[in-house]
């Protein structure tokens, strides 16, 4: 067996690959951090330096006070939380039903739901926009959340069904023998056992909801209602005379990225475990 500390060719190769991975995947974000703390002269300076001549923290202050970015972040948080909860409420029963019940049309509906995963938001965004105008749902968070939940359903049902499938039916029986209704047995017994799957679903849904761009871009016009993805994109876009400068854009982008990254790094061990078990069952 290989003992710790003995350096062989393989180990060196592995170390080297780690260094490359860290550089390639963390390098860009690090550069953005550097850009976000620079002043205009620093940005224009050539050759570019990694460390700004002085830490221009006021850039973040500018973004905070003079843009909608902070509000966009709050919007994203609110929308994401409600979406995740809503998605669970809708998909846990459905996944359970697909896992436990046999009924006519089950296979077909299941296949259809899987195919729905291929429908990207771009394809349905135009009709949705027209419905929303008529239903007066434009520029509302609740309208947006309805769509967010919908696009999460196919993948989440598939994921959760996989987890439910791996829970032996005897567990259901055992709970119901005690006289519990099916619903109660699900809530009290099955769901806790399926926690890894539910955690995986929560994780994927959160990332997905946070990243949505096209839907809120089209369905919400008011800047202060938009989530962060649209907020930053709007900040970056030009209309021929936009006055965005690189350091402010970098600061805004980082404000958008860092919470997700921070949470990720802190909970990283759990998340990887969740992802792996999600991948295994899937």
């Amino acid at each position: 067996m290989h003992s710790r500390g003995r350096l062989d060719g393989t180990k060196i190769l592995i170390y080297a690959s780690y260094i490359v991975v860290v550089l390639v995947f963390w390098g860009p974000v690090t550069w953005m951090i550097s850009l976000s703390l620079k002043t205009i002269p620093d940005i224009l300076a050539y050759p570019p330096k990694l460390f700004p001549s002085r830490l221009a923290i006021e850039n973040y202050g500018t973004i905070f006070e003079q843009s909608t970015i902070p509000r966009n972040m709050l919007n994203s948080a609110k929308i994401t939380i409600i979406t995740v909860l809503g998605t669970l409420l809708v998909t846990v029963p459905a996944a359970y039903a697909f896992s436990r019940f046999r009924f006519k049309g089950r296979t077909q509906i299941l296949m259809a739901i899987l195919l729905f995963q291929m429908i990207s938001t771009l394809i349905i965004i135009l009709p949705l926009y027209r419905y929303f105008i008529r239903l007066n749902l434009l520029d509302t968070h609740h309208g947006l959340i309805l769509i967010y939940i919908t696009v999460q359903i196919p993948f989440t049902v598939w994921l959760l069904k996989g987890f439910f499938d791996s829970i032996p039916k005897s567990l259901d029986e055992a709970a119901r023998i005690d006289g519990a209704s099916r619903l109660q047995s699900v809530i009290r017994v099955i769901v806790p056992v399926a926690m890894p799957g539910i955690a995986a679903a929560v994780l994927f849904n959160t990332i997905n909801a946070w990243s949505q761009f096209l839907i809120p871009f089209i369905l919400i016009g008011k800047g202060r209602l938009q989530p962060i993805s649209v907020g930053v994109a709007k900040y970056a876009e030009t209309v021929g005379e936009a006055i965005v400068t690189t350091h402010l854009l970098a600061a805004a982008s980082l404000m958008a990225m860092l919470p997700a990254i921070a949470i990720f790094i802190v909970l990283q061990r759990f998340i990887v475990r969740i992802l792996i078990s999600g991948a295994v069952k899937g």
Partner: protein, 445 residues
């Protein structure tokens, strides 16, 4: 044990995000007519008296609004907004800043107007499609109409019913920025421009000429209009591909820019530096001595020190020959009004006039924002006394509006694609014009 881990991590996530979510809930307001003391009158949520009964929805474009990061503009707007809202304590304004993909915004605006949900006052382009939904504002602006340059009337008035529907509150034609400390005399023709640029090239400036990447309005129209050509024929079809003379003129125009690139005087940066702020920074760094673009000036002040800004001057667009007429095609932004409530309509128009479009308002805004005014009398104000502005005012008195039709989007896109392909060397000028023409026909149904 692992189950607890999962529950814990979910709860931790929720716990971190939940307080933020709660903060996102808006607070309630009640009604009264006096303005509370000590509050900020201009906020992204609401402008004016929070207790006001009437709400106006005002939709300026990002950099024309009070929350861009351009100090000169925002301080001007803030001051005017405070004035106006104090004078109208029964009105509060809901700012809905738009920005980003302009065509998507125009499409959405059209859909919303068709459903009666458009804002009360919106900054909008010339596109005629909105005329069917815009509210007439004759009674509020008829007296001042004559002060606006004659050509603006074509845009401001709906040809279908003769009513005034828009207020064009700034303008500009294509222009040439140049370093007046390095270039003693402003070039009047492209030959003169090339000669001056070559001189600077010999002195070490690699590619002295910069320009915008979307050619239609700022690189093509200035020359097209100076040659007295009209864009459309009587059937409202574009002529630059069907009429042999016009087609040749277009090829010659495209060829000019190809020449600039071939001689190394204009680098391919023009394709990447798509917005004026990036260009302003290049101008500040001294990598270019000329910039072919629009006339809107405030980016320079942001990118350079006042002394450096002083080195730059704006002149009319170079033409094929030194004695050709000045570019006479002008554009600019408009305000349109969709409110069907008479009181709100009047208030909305009054607001826009105060900020941007009365003589005082326009003078203040154009000075703060760095735009040429669209009203003749404003050129009497101190900020516009320079020789350039006085000349511009004379030109604008005789100018024509940029072509505007519902298909301009298409032509803008197709011309940009063809122009880029030509600069990249994939197409000759003639092929580029053909591609532009065919692409346009293709997309125009």
């Amino acid at each position: 044990m692992t189950k607890r881990l999962y529950i814990t991590s979910i709860v931790a996530l929720a716990g971190m995000l939940l307080p933020l979510a709660l903060l996102a809930a808006p607070a309630a307001e009640e009604g009264a007519m006096t303005i509370p003391e000590g509050i900020d009158l201009v906020t992204p949520e609401r402008i004016g008296n929070p207790n006001a009964e009437i709400t106006l929805v005002w939709s300026p474009q990002q950099v024309y609004g009070p929350f861009s990061d351009i100090p000169a503009r925002t301080s001007y707007l803030r001051e005017k907004l405070e004035e106006w809202t104090r004078a109208h304590p029964n009105v509060k304004i809901e700012p809905v800043i738009w920005g980003g993909d302009a065509s998507a915004f125009y499409a959405k605006l059209a859909a919303e107007a068709a459903s009666g949900r458009a804002p009360d006052a919106v900054q909008m382009p010339d596109l005629p499609i909105y005329n069917q939904w815009l509210q007439p504002i004759d009674e509020f602006i008829r007296d001042e109409l004559d002060d606006f340059f004659p050509w603006t009337h074509e845009i401001m008035i709906d040809p279908a019913d003769g009513k005034i529907k828009r207020i064009k509150f700034n303008t500009g034609t294509g222009g040439l920025w140049y370093r007046k400390d390095l270039v003693p005399e402003a070039p009047r023709s492209f030959d003169e421009l090339i000669a001056a640029a070559k001189k600077l090239q010999a002195e070490g400036m690699e590619s002295p000429i910069g320009g915008v990447s979307a050619p239609l309005y700022h690189l093509i129209f200035p020359m097209w209009s100076s040659q007295g050509r009209s864009w459309y024929d009587d059937n409202e079809q574009p002529t630059f591909g069907s009429n042999p003379e016009d087609r040749q003129a277009m090829i010659d125009i495209f060829a000019v820019y190809r020449t600039l690139v071939d001689e190394g005087l204009m680098s391919l940066n023009v394709l990447e530096l798509a917005n004026n702020m990036d260009w302003a920074t290049e101008m500040g760094r001294g990598t270019v001595a000329f910039f072919l673009g629009n006339m809107w000036t405030s980016q320079l002040e942001q990118a350079m020190s006042p002394e450096e800004v002083d080195n730059w001057a704006l002149t009319h667009y170079p033409q094929m020959t030194a004695d050709a007429p000045r570019s006479a095609a002008a554009g600019g932004w408009n305000y349109g009004f969709f409110s069907d409530d008479a009181e709100k309509l009047e208030l909305a128009v009054d607001l826009v006039m105060h900020l941007y479009a009365s003589a005082d308002g326009m003078a203040g805004w154009c000075e703060a924002g760095g735009y040429p005014p669209s009203r003749a009398s404003v050129y009497d104000y101190p900020a516009f006394q320079s020789r350039f502005f006085q000349e511009l005012s004379a030109v604008l008195a005789e100018a024509k509006p940029w072509p505007s039709s519902n298909t301009m989007q298409i032509m803008s896109g197709e011309s940009t694609n063809a122009y880029e392909a030509m600069l990249l060397g994939q197409l000759t000028p003639e092929e580029a014009v053909d591609a532009f023409w065919e692409g346009t026909l293709d997309q125009m149904k």
